[in-house]
């Protein structure tokens, strides 16, 4: 049991190190940028600001100090919860992120669940009958989609369903001109539908391919042979031996793919002008809104790295042999 705690602890320390590393790299990258933060802050007001005022802003923001000092200041204010002010949205960064994250998490969470469920089912089906027509079709689907950019899928969906058939709205998370309080759940779902499909499609392909390989492996194993010898039906074997054993690896992959999910949500949100974290990232990057960009980077890293850490730990649960070296050594010592 002790080794378990140690394993999780090591993973958590790693997580902290990764976050710290990303903070340093992101800060350096932003400092390297040729975009002047004061110009970006002033925007169109730039003509009305004289050199004295510029100097004042520079001093107030501490831009005249060495980069190291600036970094320490920025990090300490981050750690105390002060994320800064976003010029793009004219609101505090913490507010922007929490509001955007709430609408993004619905999209990403649902896409995550869908791609997991559908991808897993398809993978089990394909893996249970390797070489059959259903397997070939599922594999073809997965291959082609793995090569398709998310934003192009989104554009195609838009062309077919929003413009051609007029079934779905073309943009945003709610009808234009409506107050957020008046929007019904049905309308919300209606607007969520296409981004959701665009985002799920890629995830389905990945999970399906992975589960299929695992399933083929399981179907060739001794315990399945034994079950078959005992007269178990195909359905019985697939449900009780196949799906159970393939579930944990699939969930692991699902957690490890949060990075791609986040990237995909940036693209899907841009195509459908969905007001989530992804479109905020683009705005921050294009307008040079440094505090927002840095905060989003750290939020995204936290989100994805936690996913990776969970995947690591689950991997460990799925196959304890991976850490057998330390455990075997402990066994000898005790």
């Amino acid at each position: 049991m002790r080794s378990w705690k140690a394993f999780v602890l090591v993973r958590l320390i790693r997580l902290a190190l990764v976050l710290a590393g990303v903070a340093v790299v992101a800060f350096v990258l932003v400092k390297l940028s040729p975009v002047d933060p004061i110009d970006a802050y002033l925007g169109p007001d730039i003509a009305r600001v004289g050199p004295e005022q510029r100097a004042l802003i520079t001093e107030k923001w501490g831009l005249d100090q060495p980069a190291g000092v600036q970094f320490v200041k920025w990090l300490s204010s981050m750690l105390t919860g002060d994320l800064g002010w976003s010029v793009t949205y004219n609101a505090s960064v913490a507010d922007v992120i929490s509001e955007r994250f709430r609408s993004s998490i619905v999209l990403m969470g649902l896409a995550w669940a869908f791609s997991g469920f559908i991808g897993f089912s398809l993978g089990i089906w394909a893996g249970a009958n390797p070489g059959s027509w259903s397997d070939r079709i599922i594999r073809l689907y997965a291959y082609i989609l793995a090569a398709t950019p998310t934003f192009w899928i989104a554009i195609l969906l838009l062309i077919v369903f929003s413009v051609g058939l007029r079934w779905t709205p073309v943009c945003c998370a709610a009808p234009i001109g409506m107050l957020p309080e008046d929007v019904t759940l049905l309308q919300r779902l209606h607007h969520l539908l296409l981004p959701l499909i665009a985002l799920s499609i890629l995830g389905i392909a990945q999970i399906a391919l992975h589960t299929r390989v695992k399933m083929i492996e399981i179907m060739q194993s001794d315990f399945v042979l034994y079950a078959r010898a005992q007269g178990a039906t195909m359905l019985d074997i697939v449900l009780h031996h196949g799906a159970r054993n393939a579930a944990l690896p699939a969930i692991t992959v699902l957690f490890a793919s949060l990075g791609e999910l986040f990237g995909g949500s940036i693209l899907a949100e841009t195509v459908f002008s969905y007001p989530g974290l992804g479109s905020a990232t683009i705005e921050a990057g294009i307008r040079g809104d440094v505090p927002l960009l840095l905060a989003i980077t750290l939020t995204a890293t936290l989100f994805v790295s936690v996913g990776n850490t969970i995947a690591d730990i689950l991997y460990h649960v799925a196959d304890p042999r991976i850490s057998s070296a330390s455990e075997a050594w402990q066994g000898i010592a005790e």
Partner: protein, 284 residues
């Protein structure tokens, strides 16, 4: 003393890489077409013709024309040529980074190993697209920024594979024998280890290539990197967004379709090569 010659469990054969051959054919044709067309067209195909704005596909303009009357097919081919160039450079740089880091990480120093592994965790822990945006923001855009951004986000997986390969090779019997003969580390690295890494590097390169193209397209689609007027697939698609609502579907359909065909071909070639070089791997 009898010498038992073990047959390899499964000889790599061309049959198993059959789809790869087809894909190679298509890819070579596509490459030739793109290069030839880009060269033949020069800049003539990109000229604006306001008489022929937003025309649907016809025999004269197979992919239709855009808002300035430019031929979409010509722009798509130009864009694909750019994508291939960016992908080629980025994947190449990625392979070099991966090889260097794998060698450093497998060199025996534990500190170097954990540092490299921290780098890998960092790159995997940050969504690629966010890192791409950060890097192109830092470098102020341009083709070079896109190449560098794509190159520095794609090395982790290959690094892991190469590192595992080196660690395995270091303990191989012939390397130990060679070491006992008093050969230098440099000699062993050059004559015993590097030749084994080359197939992995080639496969890694071919598999990275389509990913690099996809990321380049995504980055340019979002408006980072290249100038708006330049013909890149991502920019073509992002420009098409404004005209989709007016029913100009060809602007969005064809450039993406050609991109998918190109990516798919290189993906299949890469997987075919992997099967050929590693008979154990089987179909992915």
């Amino acid at each position: 003393m009898t010498v038992v010659v073990e047959k390899p469990p499964q000889t790599p054969s061309l049959d198993r890489a059959n789809p790869a051959l087809v894909a190679t054919g298509i890819a070579v044709l596509l490459l030739a077409a793109v290069l030839l067309a880009a060269w033949l067209l020069g800049s003539s195909g990109l000229a604006s013709d306001f008489q022929a704005r937003l025309q649907p596909p016809s025999w004269q303009h197979l992919f239709g024309t855009d808002m300035f009357g430019r031929d979409v097919l010509a722009r798509t081919i130009k864009g694909l040529a750019l994508s291939l160039r960016v992908g080629f450079l980025a994947a190449g740089i990625s392979v070099v980074i991966a090889t260097c880091l794998a060698i450093v990480s497998a060199s025996g120093s534990r500190l170097a190993d954990s540092l490299v592994s921290l780098f890998i965790d960092m790159t995997m822990g940050l969504p690629h697209l966010v890192l791409l945006i950060l890097i192109s923001f830092a470098l102020g855009g341009g083709t070079t920024a896109v190449v560098i951004a794509v190159a520095v986000t794609h090395w982790p997986r290959l690094t892991r594979i190469l590192r595992a390969e080196i660690l395995q090779l270091r303990n191989a019997e012939y390397v130990i024998v060679s070491r006992n003969f008093g050969k230098s580390r440099w000699f062993i690295a050059r004559h015993h280890i590097l030749p084994h890494l080359v197939p992995q590097m080639i496969v890694g390169f071919v598999l990275l290539f389509p990913h690099a193209i996809l990321h380049e397209a995504g980055l340019t689609f979002l408006g980072f990197g290249l100038e708006p007027g330049e013909p890149a697939i991502g920019i073509l698609l992002s420009e098409s967004m404004r005209y989709l609502l007016a029913g100009k579907w060809w602007l969005g359909l064809f450039p993406g379709l050609l991109l998918v065909v190109a990516v798919l071909c290189f993906d299949i070639i890469g997987n075919g090569l992997r099967v050929l070089t590693d008979p154990k791997a089987g179909r992915p």
